[in-house]
């Protein structure tokens, strides 16, 4: 972890809303090293997307961010607009969830990729356009020259996401953040897009953050996993350890709610995530946790080593997760 290109320290994000302050992210530490793919998994509202949109300053003005986030030593929290502009698209590039709404409908696809190039490189318009066609080719778009002259609505969902990826790698960034890149796509197309992202990681040695609610995606592509719940990382583990021996009751719940062959019914996690306007004191998961005890309400649990993983469960040594997990990986 010493060679991390992107590191977040005690990052918090909150939003001012008419109903009060929403504490979306409450102290998150994450490190990402070059060439590795870190999965960030959690339910919607767990703060996983907000964390990464926040460090790039892409959240609405009502967002307040504190803590530290550095990319290659450059501090992003509180950075000037100029510094931030130099980071966005150049050091950190993003791939968004819905490629249709994330592309501007009124510009040609090639021009939108070229715009990304010209935002950070001193090249002529025609050079940028030529480079855009190459990039479209790299991400596997057939007839890239013709396609670059078309508009986003003329592309299929998978092809649009390839365009987003082409745009993201245009300036050879250090870090790629993929925010639910496959959620809006068909299952078969999902696999293709994941392949493209994996190929980029392999060939270009990028650090990739894969934000998803889909454990299937994590199992397939991630090296390490951060499980987020209610704005906190509750478990951190290598992907194999996470599936073999989960060390947080929430992770167990997530794994149990996955459909598996031979299993008759799914075991959803009971209850709902807490309201982040007034997050409960202590462990945020305790209201839904089958193992909760008075000690859970005492203080915010920190990540602590257990087995091969890090877990934020204070009772981990006392409880037997295997009993409720039913996971045999």
């Amino acid at each position: 972890m010493d060679a991390s290109v992107l590191s977040l320290r005690d990052l918090t994000v909150s939003f001012k809303t008419p109903n009060g302050t929403v504490q979306a992210v409450r102290g998150v530490d994450i490190d990402v090293a070059a060439g590795e793919m870190v999965g960030v998994v959690g339910e919607s509202g767990s703060g996983k997307s907000v964390t990464f949109l926040g460090i790039l300053g892409l959240l609405p003005n009502s967002a307040r961010i504190s803590g530290s986030a550095t990319v290659e030593g450059v501090e992003l929290v509180g950075a000037t607009n100029k510094v931030m502009r130099g980071v966005r698209g150049k050091k950190i590039a993003m791939i968004f969830q819905d490629p249709l709404s994330s592309l501007n409908p009124v510009y040609r696809v090639g021009d939108q990729v070229a715009e990304m190039i010209r935002a950070h490189q001193e090249v002529s318009k025609s050079e940028a356009t030529a480079r855009a066609v190459e990039l479209l080719d790299i991400v596997g778009i057939p007839q890239p020259k013709v396609r670059s002259r078309q508009y986003p609505h003329e592309f299929s969902g998978g092809m649009r996401q390839r365009v987003m990826i082409a745009m993201a790698i245009a300036n050879d960034p250090e870090v790629l953040i993929a925010d639910e890149p496959t959620t809006a796509l068909d299952v078969t197309v999902q696999a293709q897009i994941l392949e493209v992202i994996q190929r980029i990681q392999r060939d270009m040695k990028k650090a990739i953050v894969m934000i998803t609610h889909d454990l299937g995606v994590i199992a397939r592509v991630a090296d390490r996993v951060q499980v987020m719940y209610a704005g906190r990382v509750v478990e951190r583990a290598a992907v194999n350890d996470l599936f073999a021996t989960p060390t947080h009751p929430y992770t167990v719940g997530l794994l149990n709610s996955l459909p598996r062959v031979g299993q008759e019914r799914l075991l959803p996690i009971p209850g709902r995530p807490p309201n982040m306007l007034q997050p409960p004191a202590g462990c945020a998961f305790r209201a839904r946790c089958p193992h909760s005890a008075p000690v859970c309400a005492e203080k915010l649990p920190e990540l602590q080593p257990y087995a091969h993983s890090m877990t934020a469960c204070v009772r981990i040594k006392e409880i037997d997760l295997a009993e409720t997990s039913g996971v045999t990986a």
Binding site: T17, P270, G271, L277, C289, H291, E323
Partner: protein
Amino acid sequence: MTDATAPGTSREVDTEVFVDDLEALNVKTMTPLQMAWRRYWRHKAAALSTVIMGILLLVVIFAPFTARYGINEQVLKISEGNNVYLSPRKLAWMGTDDIGRDIFSRLIWGIRTSLFIGVVSAILSVVIGTAAGAVAGLYGGVFDDLMMRVTDIFLAFPFFVAVVVARASLGNISWITNIIGEISSIKFIIFLFAIFGWMGVARLVRGQVLALKEREFIEAARAVGASNKRIIVSHLLPNSIGPILVALTLSVIGAIVAESTLAFFGLGPQPGSDSTSLGKLVELSREGAKQGNWWLVVFPCGALVLLAVCINFIGDGLRDAVDAKLDTVK
């Protein structure tokens, strides 16, 4: 909540957590109507306008008590002294007009009539527009084409030109005036505003219906065999009630301003000797301005602007209220 399958969980802790959890969730348990209500009152200008309009409505509804003088009553008999063109004073708070009547009292009576014209013609045009838009949007095909052509034709005229020409024309056709009243009657002007005021609502509702038609719950209603009429009444209308309400509010003030504008050019309704309207009073301001009797201009025009600003703000507040997006994290 979890049941007792979990080992090591005491009942006591469970309840405490449960209450805690519920408290944290209480914001989300509001009904959509309650949330709209909250959003409406958060719009400060709309809230203030609502209060002002509320007071004004009370004053106007109870005009027989709130007006100091009768509608045609002179503030004092001519034998007791001059009563014509008196500037504002204790006897007449807003001065008197050319035949010695109290402007303040006449304003109350006038706003009463004008609000009546505004509200009735707005309701009529919204009803016509909603019906036309819903039918066109839901049935599509020939209905839709026909409706769109007709609205195009109606929209081909600037409102003022259309109303002036239609007023003269329809006012000369005796079977029409037999039904809706003489050209100078209040009924006639309401009818006129209704037939030239429905197109906007029709287009709005048609658009809403077309958008809603694509939504799943309409598909579901169709799948279980609901009739078109049922779908319109029980699904489409409740879902587009918000924008319709906004349009209704704005067409109330549209009609009030239109009546005053027509009256300003001497084309307004003549409510008769026992009634008046804001337009009639505004009409007087033209003469008043020339003679330097400022109170004849300031008070009627001021009342009109006050109404316009308040009702517009209320419409704006309603727009906020029906926009659920405003409650999401932004």
